[in-house]
């Protein structure tokens, strides 16, 4: 049994954050915080000890998700996974993030992504198949990519 993950949700849509929280908890992990804006997210990064931050690109104060990802990257407090319906807004270098879960994700797609990320964070590299709708950043592709296609 791998140790469960502590997750920070940075998402401006309450409904999506709520449902994401339920799915995360059903999968045996815990949610340590929910932020809706970049400022709230930055202050929460200091006060929580998340393993993974799920970051939406679009927050209540605009398309500030990339900036939040860079901030988390500097603090080295947790790894970042983008969760967005607008993956084209993610810069080529992914702002240091592991990858992106493209919205709309399926319930199973998210559960599979959680399993994959749990393996990646706790016992890298992950052994599960990379789920549909999950894209690894080029930097993590080099480290986590499965040995056989």
């Amino acid at each position: 049994m791998i140790e469960p993950l502590k997750i920070l949700i940075i998402e401006d849509e309450a409904l999506l954050a709520m449902e994401l929280e339920s799915l995360v908890e059903e999968a045996g992990h815990s949610v340590v915080g929910w932020a809706t804006s970049s400022s709230e997210a930055k202050s929460m990064v200091g006060s929580t000890d998340a393993d993974i931050a799920f970051v939406d690109i679009h927050l209540t104060d605009g398309p500030t998700g990339v900036e939040v990802a860079e901030y988390i990257g500097q603090k080295k407090s947790s790894v970042v996974v983008f969760m967005t319906a607008n993956p084209k807004r993610i810069p080529d270098h992914f702002a240091g993030a592991v990858g992106v879960i493209a919205k709309p994700y399926t319930m199973n797609g998210l559960t599979s992504a959680l399993r994959y990320l749990q393996e990646g964070v706790r016992r890298p590299p992950p052994v599960s198949t990379r789920p549909a709708g999950f894209t690894l950043s080029p930097a993590f592709e080099a480290v986590w990519a499965p040995p056989v296609a």
Binding site: E13, L15, L16, M18, E19, S22, L23, H58, A85, N86, P87, K88, A102, K103, P104, Y105, T106, M107, N108, G109, T111, S112, T129, P131, A132, G133
Partner: protein, 382 residues
């Protein structure tokens, strides 16, 4: 020919004396040069500063000077402040090198007005090859120069107009692309919210049948979500790669079922269909695969289920074929005609002008869908 007037000019006589040319006075060639409408002069490079020794009437008319004012002078009095320095240098070089020259040069009349002079200059040598004179003709080409300038100005204006219009169109395209991304973003977010609402609702429901209904509904909406996620990944939003979609869908449905004993066998040609067919095709494939997962396989005595679901996609000439097969219990309880799922499949088939057949595959069932698929050419969005 204006013999008389030329004869009457004292300077002209002086001129012909000065020429010492083999063509004497009374020579019809000399007379012709004097009288022609083409402005002509002759200079003597053997004298200091290469002065004009002959100028015909046409030259005097063109330049506005009297004969007395030009004979004995170097031609540079025709130049002025706006005369191109390069043209002057070209004339100097031609004289120094004793070569021919044709050049357009801006010259000044006596009254200060300007004209464009298509100057032709050529050296004249005697039999021994010694340089005797320079012969020069002047043609007023101001009109041609004006139209050249106008054409250049028009060209510049058109180029500027085209540049501006291109910039406008690029800006409009940029705005449209931004709008498309915004709408795409909203559609995806809304699909995510619909899924979330169904999941949340179903958590609070105790009744198993209702829970199952909601799950089926969620699967259909998730199939649409997968279409939308895939639709805008490509650069061309009017095209949809149905084989990539099928791979995502089957992987997702199989892992979601949690029955690791059921394997998939995918035989997918890369097939592109128009975006408007994406949704009905996706819903149909979703129904067939979920149906097979629900009804085709029986639990073994050890509580696990084993089996295989196959999807094959191919495109023989002008057609697009989908085969969904399983090696389960067969058709008996799989094709309840009255079920909503079955009605959905049949309606979608009608919409796609698809032919759909159920075959007993012994073991299992094979569903074959065949529909026309126009060759995917650029710009054909049918």
């Amino acid at each position: 020919m204006d013999w008389k007037r030329t004869r009457e000019s004292a300077d002209a006589w002086h001129m012909t004396d000065d020429l010492h040319a083999e063509h004497g006075k009374g020579d019809p060639f000399a007379a012709a040069i004097r009288a022609t409408r083409m402005s002509m002069i002759i200079t003597d490079p053997r004298r200091p500063d290469n002065p004009i020794v002959f100028a015909n009437d046409a030259f005097l008319r063109l330049s506005g000077y009297g004969r007395g004012e030009v004979i004995g002078k170097n031609c540079r009095f025709l130049q002025g402040p706006k005369t191109d320095k390069a043209a002057i240098a070209a004339i100097r070089a031609a004289i120094a090198d004793k070569t021919d020259l044709a050049v357009d040069i801006l010259n000044y009349r006596k009254d200060g007005s300007t004209f464009w002079n298509a100057l032709y200059l050529s050296p004249v040598s005697n039999d021994k090859g010694e340089l005797q004179f320079f012969f020069a003709s002047q043609l007023d080409v101001s009109d041609r120069k004006r139209s050249e300038h106008r054409i250049t100005a028009d060209k510049d204006r058109f180029e500027k107009a085209v540049k501006e219009r291109t910039a406008e169109l690029e800006a409009a395209l940029e705005a449209q692309t931004t709008l498309l991304h915004e709408v795409d973003h909203r559609v995806k977010n809304n699909l995510q919210m619909i899924s979330s609402l169904i999941i949340m609702q179903s958590r609070s429901i105790k009744d198993e049948a209702t829970k199952r209904s909601l799950k089926t509904m969620l699967e259909r909406i998730e199939a649409l979500s997968t279409v939308h996620r895939r639709l805008y990944q490509s650069k061309d939003v009017s095209r949809f790669d149905v084989s990539d979609f099928a791979k995502d869908l089957v992987t997702d449905l199989l892992t979601a079922s949690g029955r690791s004993g059921i394997k998939s066998k995918l035989d997918l040609e890369p097939i592109v269909i128009s975006a408007e067919k994406a949704t009905p095709v996706a819903l149909m494939v979703n129904e067939l695969v979920t149906n097979a997962l629900k009804h085709a396989f029986k639990e073994g005595p050890d509580g696990t289920t084993a089996g295989r679901i196959g999807i094959k996609m191919s495109q023989p000439d002008g057609h697009f074929n989908i085969e969904v097969s399983d090696d389960g219990v067969g058709m008996t309880d799989a094709s309840g005609d009255a079920s909503f799922g079955m009605r959905l499949i049949k309606s979608l088939a009608r919409q796609l002008r698809a032919n759909i057949e159920w075959h007993d595959a012994g073991p299992g069932t094979k569903v074959v869908i065949s529909m026309p698929n126009e060759p995917q050419q650029k710009g054909n969005v049918s």
